[in-house]
Subunit: 347 residues, 2 copies
Amino acid sequence: MKRKLTLKLIAKELDVSISTVSKALRDSAEISEDTRQKIKAFAKLYNYKPNNIALSLKNRKTRTIGIIIPQIVHHFFTTVIRGIEQMAREHNYNVIITLSNNDFDKEVLNMELLANGSTDGFIVSLAKETLHKDDFRHLTEAIDQGMPVVMFDRIVDEIPCDKVLIDDREGAKMGVRHLLKTGCRKIAIITTEDYVTIGKLRTKGYIEALESYGIKVEKELILKLDNIDHCEGECSKKIKNFLKGKDIDGLFTVNELFAVTAAKHLHEFGKSMPNDVSIVSFSDGELSKHFIPSLTTVSQHGELMGRKAAELLINKLERPEDEVEEYTTAYIDTTLIERESTKKIKK
Amino acid sequence: MKRKLTLKLIAKELDVSISTVSKALRDSAEISEDTRQKIKAFAKLYNYKPNNIALSLKNRKTRTIGIIIPQIVHHFFTTVIRGIEQMAREHNYNVIITLSNNDFDKEVLNMELLANGSTDGFIVSLAKETLHKDDFRHLTEAIDQGMPVVMFDRIVDEIPCDKVLIDDREGAKMGVRHLLKTGCRKIAIITTEDYVTIGKLRTKGYIEALESYGIKVEKELILKLDNIDHCEGECSKKIKNFLKGKDIDGLFTVNELFAVTAAKHLHEFGKSMPNDVSIVSFSDGELSKHFIPSLTTVSQHGELMGRKAAELLINKLERPEDEVEEYTTAYIDTTLIERESTKKIKK
DNA sequence: TATTAAGAATACAACGTTTTCGTAGGAAAA
DNA sequence: TTTTCCTACGAAAACGTTGTATTCTTAATA
């Protein structure tokens, strides 16, 4: 197991000083053409690569972005990560990903860990438990220490930092209006409890869409569930009970899982889609695409979101010292993707 | 923006030397009880945390594991990552994830990047292009430099390192035998070209299962496709043509996407599942669970795989210098998950 | 009283870089 | 011959740690 090549070793080998090697490799004019070539040839031959850790220490910069997210198994997050990765790569940054598993303590731990030298800044989507606890000291602390933070998706308004959001209200509105345009008039929604921001906003969009058509919002057509990562047992049962006997012709759900679970139960009740009930779901995933019938969705563009978040962070990281603090909140538009779970719009 | 607290700053503030601070914080007996308490109190008050970068440089250890995978959007990989994360956390290691996007150059780049000080070792699943190119210098180089490498899933035999594999042959065999047990006799397989190891092995398992039932393997019941990340257009068409007019009663596929695409076409052909055709798929994902009918799958336990890979790597990282090199290949068993796409076994 | 031992703190080197400053030696100018 | 100015290189500091070696007190011993 040979040791990694360092400037020191090259210096010793070629009988010059470390500084000379360093300068030669960085093409400094201080070093004669001859020596420079000799050193570069040697370095290339033995495949010298500077040690990033040493560079980080020296520069007090790591060129690394830390991502802190609740769950990687969500397709949405994976697309966001891809977006961040892309943008980071384009600007020569690396990316470290850590998972909070929706656990507050782990989120705090992860941040502290990364804050101690491993990253220049953070891109964060908060754990559910954190939102519940309403405790954001780990975030404010990082910010106080001069670490830029960008929050996305699961954010909290009070924290002074850049934010990237899906335009949830507008998206839900668009989705529900699509149901309305295709002729649905009795539209239910399956959403999350209000403490989950996105659920709240999407519910709002649903209500606004109905109102814009002059349709009265009926409480018993709204089902609020805990936002969990699977929808079996209890959750599935609630949906079943909610749908049973309801004479709806449209259904809007805030995520894919609610949609397919509902579809299953509707199927059991002998209802067909889209003829008896049309479905539109907020979504990020593969499920809707491959489901039979494939689901019309309000698509979230996680990749764009990631790119935007990374862009904001990198801007902050590279702004001159004396620039005034200023925080942006960016909204990522959603797109309606028409598939088989809704009828064609009547012309 | 206040600067991060360092030993030096504490030393200056308390008017002692840096060494004293360092030692006090590490509870060295060299420092008097008094001074120790004073320093620890100060450090705690101002929330001192040692700088990991400096530690890494000093110790020539980062306590970080680098994961290099083709795609994070695959549910399978996300479960593997979770397993690695878990095990790493338990042993006080961090995890850095980078994506190759199935691109050879990016894989090489990523490895070089991480190899230059950022990680102590690697857990790798090779990019498709890398397998195609048959060029593994980046791996052997890392290994030569004393960086332990563990390969999983997409491996290559020649590289001297630990490996973790799904028992693909056995898994496929189990899946196909399940079809046989439920009464299927004319079973097709949709698999990948042989250069993808897992496809090859799963095809082998399929053949062995048939043979164990004394059923002749028919070439026209085997469809080999390029292993791609989506199955639309060309790929979907091939499957359609393959299925058209075939009088099969069972279908085994090496991944979920092939399965649902096939299911769609069978649906179009008016065939019902599982009555006309039963389906078993190798799988890792959510799709099978929520598909209608839900798919019987050979499940892969990515989390276990991740845990095992991390365990092997950490073992290598922490073994004494003089221990003999020895490479393990671990197999992770698969489990058959019965769902609605197959009939009940006749007693 | 002089020597030693202990206890308590500090100095220093090292990890691998980059960069600022310094200087040796030679050529050109005075 | 002396002075000046390049050219080409090297020494040293710094980033934040830690471990070894060293120094400085003070108290105990001969």
